[in-house]
Amino acid sequence: MFDVITFYFFGGLAVVSAILVVTARNAVHSAIFLVTALLATAGIFLQLHAEFLFIVQVILYVGGIMVLFVFVIMLVNLDVAARQTQFNRMWPFALLLALIVSGQIYAVVHYAQKGISDPLFQVVAAPASALEPNSELIGQSLFTQYMLPFEIASIMLLVAMIGAVVMAKRKV
């Protein structure tokens, strides 16, 4: 019961703030609503017993990436841009695209539920204790099975850091 209440609370919060991110006129308002959406997603992670990912989401996304976004919004003068038209004329195409994507995913879920009478698609199957020492399990998996992707990710971060510094320099 508690599960259901928290799911609908955080899920509703995430969807509403996501809609406000896309429709808000001012970019700063968009950023604030994006913070709410990301925090609601973090709540969903916590509800799914992914505690480490919850902390990573709050610290890295909300604390790191969003601060970067707000900094850039402050650097870039948006007073002029806020008074211009905010949407282009692509919305029928966007609506069509959204309908196609949702139809596809809905069809897959529906077919899977109907065709396979597997308990997989009915309930959350595994017991919560399967993921129990969460940070330890993630650390073990990250440093044994996924060692090479981990190193590649660190090299990618280095490349991104150098690239950002070079691009933001005054004289290119």
Binding site: V22, S30, A50, V72, A81, I105, F121, A130, I138, M167
Partner: protein, 100 residues
Amino acid sequence: MLSITHYLVLSLALFTIGVIGVVTRRNVIIILMSIELILNAVNINLVAFSRLFGDVSGQVFAIFIITDAAAEAAIGLGIIIAFFRNRETVLADEMDLLKW
């Protein structure tokens, strides 16, 4: 009782809103924010399936996706700052230097 379908539908809603934002908005910064929304929807799917199977690999992949999102935000915002310095605009349809 919550099933995996609940999480799939929530993730689908966030993904669709993000796609609509990417296609319809003119402001490049908000387009980048919509991309973050899309990546979050993917993360919800990964974590939900990780919970379903009792396997931690989905959460590890979600961490890799968050790392990607950080790198992408840094690079994208660097490009936006460099472009704004040259052309004084952040609107996507005014970025037509390569259009003939």
